[in-house]
């Protein structure tokens, strides 16, 4: 649908009566009274003599910090307890090679310079590592982080022992235990998770389990209990045939995204079953042959992805799709 034909999206033209009424009602919700901004305390101004001394001290400290840390040290703030900094760290900041660890009572917030913040939960270990080009990259060795990122896609990356999460502009929580089990849950925007050449596209409202062998397929928070149980069984049996059948039986149209992720992860026989079920659940492109999908031809997979309604696959991909093992 074109923008101009869609009043709900474009904001132009008349909405259906029920939505117009909703818009009138919600747009009249009262706002809180505006505070008296002039009554807010202003930062203290020091006498000039102190200002000069402070400026000199800051200059010395900043020079030392720049020498020690490079130009882009990231600030670490304590949210609870006593998080500790290690490696290349100075004055509450970490540079490349720096690390933040939290014990069972500590939480920390890391200011990812210019991109957003990362909050580190208790029992976590996070390192700052070198990314490629403009990438800002962290390594979560174990524990849980929540990232609030407002940046162009693919500029914020978190590697874990079981794969790499690449931000496409969003808020997400990533956890990984010392045994490699964990979870990626996206609450806003989108994330891709890559392991051994296989890439999962995880939009808001979906999550995927992580394990030492990589990531499980993404699934909706609000999928039916029967479908979630079936896909959990499929994960735990490492994809045996009866478990897959149960997944296919219980899938609803909005679970097509989960089934799509199974395509490159299953053998050829199972792939045909999965593809048939997707085609029964949603309207797949008529001009893309089933054979091309079963052969995992990237353009065919991307066309089927497009039919799911999560935007074109080209917006997501950070790698080329990998042929599953026969």
């Amino acid at each position: 649908m074109r923008d101009e034909d869609d009043a709900l999206f474009s904001g132009r033209g008349a909405l259906p009566e029920d939505l117009a009424r909703l818009e009138r009602a919600l747009s009249q919700l009262p706002l809180p009274p505006e505070p008296d901004w002039n009554a807010r305390p202003r930062p203290e101004r020091r006498p000039p003599v102190f200002a000069w001394a402070a400026a000199a001290a800051v200059l010395v400290i900043a020079s030392a910090a720049l020498l020690l840390l490079g130009r882009d040290a990231w600030r670490v703030e304590t949210l609870a307890g006593k998080p500790s900094l290690g490696g290349v760290a100075f004055a509450g900041r970490i540079a490349l090679g720096g690390r933040v660890t939290t014990d069972t009572r500590s939480r920390a917030r890391l200011d990812v310079q210019g991109l957003g913040v990362v909050e580190l939960e208790p029992g976590s270990a996070l390192r700052r590592v070198r990314g490629q080009g403009p990438e800002r990259k962290l390594a979560l060795d174990h524990g849980t982080l929540t990232a609030f990122i407002q940046a162009p896609p693919r500029q914020f990356v978190v590697e874990t022992p079981v794969g790499v999460a690449t931000d496409l502009g969003c808020t997400y929580t990533l956890s990984v235990a010392r045994d490699g089990r964990g979870k990626l849950a996206v609450t806003l925007g989108r994330v891709t998770f890559t392991h051994d050449g296989l890439e999962s596209f995880v939009p808001a409202g979906l999550w995927c389990p992580l394990s030492p062998s990589g990531d499980g397929v993404p699934r909706r928070d609000y999928a039916s209990d029967t479908f979630l149980a079936a896909i959990a069984t499929y994960d735990s049996t490492q994809g045996d045939a009866p478990a897959l059948e149960r997944v296919l039986e219980t899938a609803e149209p909005s679970d097509a995204i989960t089934l799509w992720h199974l395509l490159p992860r299953v053998d050829e026989t199972a792939r045909a079953r999965v593809a048939a079920r997707i085609a029964a659940l949603i309207e797949v492109p008529a001009d893309v042959s089933r054979e091309r999908v079963l052969a995992l031809e990237p353009a065919a997979l991307d066309a089927w992805w497009g039919a799911i309604g999560m935007g074109p696959a080209s917006e997501w991909r950070t790698t080329s799709p990998k042929q599953a093992l026969p």
Partner: protein, 195 residues
């Protein structure tokens, strides 16, 4: 209508005014200590912050949190690198503040407790009921749709403006709006029959 924790209406900003061109000089002035400029930013973006918060926290906490978010923004204005990006920046602060609120309340406050009793206002009672029911219904939708719908109907933003403030693609915003509205209609028709 329930007052949703807020006490009186303020003039709403025009959400269709190009945010980037207007915000940058206001942010620069506010950073130099011009409190009137910061007040202008508040009036332009309070609806945006209100919408983000309503999608995540109990409605009776929204008023306090709107103030918290703007106070944090005032204190951290030096950290904003691109003055024209004030809107997405303050939306991120609001999401983070909501996450803090939820973390603190997680074990103690049931979701339903937050909807306040209806109070007398100048708003048409039937539409007021609609607003309360609609806020509750939107809050019961999957997380992916809540914020998009609140930004559309509470903040009055259109699809491209929502995309600019959330980092979502136009396609994703469109999908969220249409699927969210579809689910919302279902919820409202199952409930009171209003909408």
């Amino acid at each position: 209508m329930g007052d949703l924790g807020l006490s009186r209406p303020s003039p709403a900003p025009d959400p269709h005014e190009p945010a980037t061109s207007v915000d940058a000089p206001l942010v620069a002035a506010a950073r130099r200590g011009d409190r009137a400029a910061f007040g202008a930013l508040y009036r332009r973006h309070a609806r945006l912050v209100q919408a983000v918060l309503l999608s995540r926290v109990a409605p009776d906490s929204v008023a306090d949190l709107v103030h918290d978010v703007f106070l944090q923004a005032m204190n951290r204005l030096q950290a904003l690198r691109d003055d024209s990006a004030f809107a997405p920046w303050i939306a991120t602060i609001a999401r983070r503040r909501a996450a803090d609120w939820r973390r603190r309340r997680r074990d103690t406050v049931p979701l339903e407790e937050a909807m306040p009793e209806a109070a007398a206002t100048e708003v048409d009672p039937e539409e007021a009921f609609d607003a309360q029911a609609a806020v509750a219904a939107i809050r019961s939708l999957p997380e992916a749709y809540r914020e998009t719908l609140m930004l559309r109907f509470v903040a009055g933003l259109n699809g491209p403006e929502i995309a600019a403030r959330t980092g979502l693609t136009h396609g994703s915003v469109r999908v969220n709006l249409h699927r969210g509205v579809e689910m919302l209609r279902k919820k409202l028709s199952e409930g009171s029959g209003h909408a």
